[in-house]
Symmetry: C2
Subunit: 167 residues, 2 copies
Amino acid sequence: MVDAVLFEFLHTEMVAELWAHEADPDPGPGEQKMNLLVLESMGFRVGQALGERLPRETLALREELDVLKFLCKDLWVAVFQKQMDSLRTNHQALLCPQGTYVLQDSSFPLLVRMASGLQYVEEAPKFLAFTCGLLRGTLSTLGIKSLVTASVAALPACRFQVVVQRS
Amino acid sequence: MVDAVLFEFLHTEMVAELWAHEADPDPGPGEQKMNLLVLESMGFRVGQALGERLPRETLALREELDVLKFLCKDLWVAVFQKQMDSLRTNHQALLCPQGTYVLQDSSFPLLVRMASGLQYVEEAPKFLAFTCGLLRGTLSTLGIKSLVTASVAALPACRFQVVVQRS
C-alpha cells in the first residue's frame, strides 16, 4: 500500500524541487523547457535501468507492437498500478510516418491529484515529462529508438505519442 | 520486480541531478550542505505523505518503541524490500537523552551499489539524507517530533540515529 504511492510522492517532490529553483515565480519559456528536459532525461535513465531488469523473454520480443503492448501492460502496472487504457497505431494520420503509436491513459495517476487542485492544462507538461523519458528509456533498452511526446486534452486523461525512429 | 527497484533508480537520479547543478566539480561544504538539506526535506515530505496513508491501527500506536518497530519493519519493507537489521535504544550513552534509538541496516540498499563503485565513505551522506528525512517525516505524521542523523562505518552498512524531541 505504501510502496504503491512511493513513486508518485517522490515524483511530486522532484517536480516541486525543480521548479523551486526558479528565482522568478513566473519563469520564462526557456527555464520551463530546461526543467522539462531535466525531468525527461531523468525518466530516460530510469527507463533504461528498468529495461535492463526486465525478464529475458521481454528482451526477446521481436515485434515492435509487442514491445509497445508490454509497455502499456507490464511497465504501466509496475509503475502506476494500472494498465494503459488504449494503444492505437497512427498509420492513418497524414504526415505521420509508419511506427507511430498513441498510448491513451484516461486517468493518468500523476495528473489525478492535479485535476482537483490546479485548474490549468498548461501546468500538465511538468507532470508528463518524466514519464515521456521513462517510455523512451525503456524502449531504448529494448532496442527501439524513439521520440515520445505527451498531450492533455481533458485532465486527468492524457496521451503519449511514440514515434519510432527508423534508420 | 520492476517496481521494487523503481524507488532506488529514481533516488539515484535525484542525487545525480542535484549534484549536477554544481558548477564547480569540487563544491564547497556550503553547497554540499544545501543539497543534503534539499534531499532531507524531500524525504521529510514523502515520509509525511506516506505516514498519512498508513493503516489506522498504525496511527493508534501509543508506545514510542512500537512506532520505531513499525518503521524498522513495515516502512523499511515497503520502501527497501527488507527489514532493518536491528533497533537499539541508546539510553546508556553519556550525554544522550531518553528517547534515542539506533537503527542499524547492515546492507542499506541505497549504499549497496556504491560500495562496489565508489570507495569513499565521505560520499555516503548524499545517499542517506533523503532517508533521514523519510524517517523524520513518517515519525512526524505519527506524532513524534525527532532529529534523525545517519552515519556509516563500513559500506554498505549504516545506522540511523533517531533522537525524539520532547516538549
